[in-house]
Symmetry: C2
Subunit: 341 residues, 2 copies
């Protein structure tokens, strides 16, 4: 029998391949696979649902990720997907498969993080599943949101030529936080007497271990009566996520390198690691900022949006997706999201 | 630090313990943890969501479970939860964490099973997550349904004294199928030349590997204008699942041993295994039949329901949950669902 390795297709190629041939049977299925969340018609309104698995040894390392932070982050990454639809999440389900090395006290820590996220983001834990697994820890979280206003929902596919590309905050820090945590882990493994030193790097560590979702951005959009034309959350990296918008909208784009927001701590740390901080922003991922496009006439509303940055513009599809470098060069962007296989 | 083993609490005790202290923030959360599915208000109607994880080495054994059946079953167990709310599921999400031992062809098999279930039950695959895991295979599936008629939703907590207890089909077969598969696996492991012999046992094997959900029962309820007072799907075993209804409804119950439906093949196989077939029905689980209660005045509607059996009656809480044996004895029932930890 033929054996094709999953790496030959990559994550998105694999999903496309596997769901090919699935047909929808219900008119209530408004948006299926391919956006941050699925959209399901429910009476006069719509429900959004997103789901993510977090696997020990792949998405988190308990040697430096506190259980409470893990619980918190597992909720945040799902809420972020609902915000990316320009909707507000209101419920989550939380499922957990755990090996017998986890005590009740350890689980209490995870749930303390889940509870904290629920309280801060005002969402309710409504269900889930708890079971065992031979080895490790696997979390599966879903988030649900509801809106009466179907027209408010923002997909990845609405970007138009001339739209302005914006992002809600600085990028690359979560990735650099991970590099730092991994470096300190290796140092510690080589010499147990070395105590990890994170002084001056609290920001990047927190961006990695305890990210936040940009609920405030959605609230700002509502308050200022602004509807982005397309939106996605930055989970795979600015480059890969912008390409999702471009591909689904049938457009091109350029990013101004000099406009990509970078935190000072990130820049400093990137230097230490001999990395380009812009590359960290483009390919890092896990920042959970919102990347969105707005029509040119809404530009003024963005100028007054706290923490928002204008970083580029949507162009015709044939122009491709490009980076205008600070040095005056133009490079095609590559999708360099993480390949977990 | 104190270390409490999760086994000290059991699955349900553990969940109760962990979610203690969670408060709801949204009026749209109509039913939270504690039923087959959560119910969320969506405009004038309501959405039900259920979720289950299926873990290799815990819930399935790929040495005898075909991948296509696994995909099929992973959908069915979730649809069953939505039917148990007296609702019709319309969408699912399907998430999968897989180790690198799985080829694209293997995943195609799993998805072929998912697709088959979607086609037969007319539900749409709308989302999910695909990622890797260091070892094994973990599936996480959610099902969603919507109804405009909130009054049609049936919870576990509506059973009243005098209500009749019914079940949609025979019980214990899935458990016996598992025993048979495990026995043949051991024989094969001891002697590779032994070919598993399942002749005459197709029914129990299919009940274990490729169960169906009782959509037809919900359709019958609608057609006959019958609303059960309480309902649950038999996933943990008749005994444990009846106790969920009794506990949440604040009632007792008795089951007539002689009325518990058993398939002829199950009875024969139970004898072979030196087991009591009624015990298999009470404690086996994974039958995915619907266990429900109806008001006495609706009894006639049940008599004409294809495949339905009347097996007992709801009694006052102080009478407990009991089994009236064929021999004329009365035994208290014990919840003996599977403890996966």
């Amino acid at each position: 029998m033929k054996r094709t390795d999953v790496n030959e297709l990559g994550e998105f190629g694999l999903i496309d391949h596997l769901v090919k041939g699935f047909k929808n049977h219900n008119k209530s299925t408004l948006k299926s696979i391919g956006d941050d969340a699925a959209i399901i018609k429910a009476g006069a309104g719509s429900v959004a649902i997103s789901t993510d698995m977090l696997i020990e040894g792949i998405h988190f390392d308990l040697s430096y990720c506190p259980l409470k932070h893990l619980g918190y982050k597992s909720v945040i990454v799902n809420l972020s997907d609902i915000y990316a639809m320009n909707m507000l999440p209101s419920q989550i389900t939380f499922s957990m498969a755990l090996s017998n090395r986890f005590s009740v006290e350890a689980l209490e820590e995870i749930y303390a993080g889940v509870k904290k996220a629920c309280e801060i983001y005002k969402v309710d834990l409504v269900g889930g599943d708890t079971t065992s697994i031979p080895k490790g820890l696997a979390l599966s979280v879903s988030a649900l949101g509801y809106t009466e206003k179907l027209k408010d929902i923002v997909y990845r596919n609405g970007a138009k030529i001339g739209d302005v590309i914006c992002v809600t905050g600085d990028l690359g820090a979560a990735y650099l936080g991970l590099q730092l945590l991994e470096r300190e882990k290796q140092l510690f493994l080589n010499d147990n007497s070395i105590k990890p030193d994170f002084s001056g790097n609290q920001y990047v560590i927190e961006r990695q271990l305890k990210p936040e979702a940009r609920k405030d951005a959605i609230e700002y959009f509502r308050k200022s009566n602004l509807r982005p034309t397309a939106m996605i959350d930055v989970s795979d990296g600015l480059s890969s996520d912008l390409m999702h918008i471009c591909k689904q909208s049938g457009v091109g784009a350029y990013l101004e390198e000099s406009k990509i927001p970078l935190n000072a701590e990130s820049k400093q740390l990137a230097l230490e690691f001999n990395m380009d901080p812009v590359t960290c922003a483009l390919s890092g991922g896990e920042d959970y900022e919102l990347l969105f496009t707005v029509a040119p006439e809404d530009l003024d509303k963005i100028r007054f949006m706290p923490g928002a940055y204008i970083i580029g513009e949507i162009t015709p599809e044939e122009d491709g997706v490009k980076l205008h470098t600070t040095g005056g060069n133009i490079h095609p962007l590559k999708a360099q999201g993480w390949n977990h296989f």
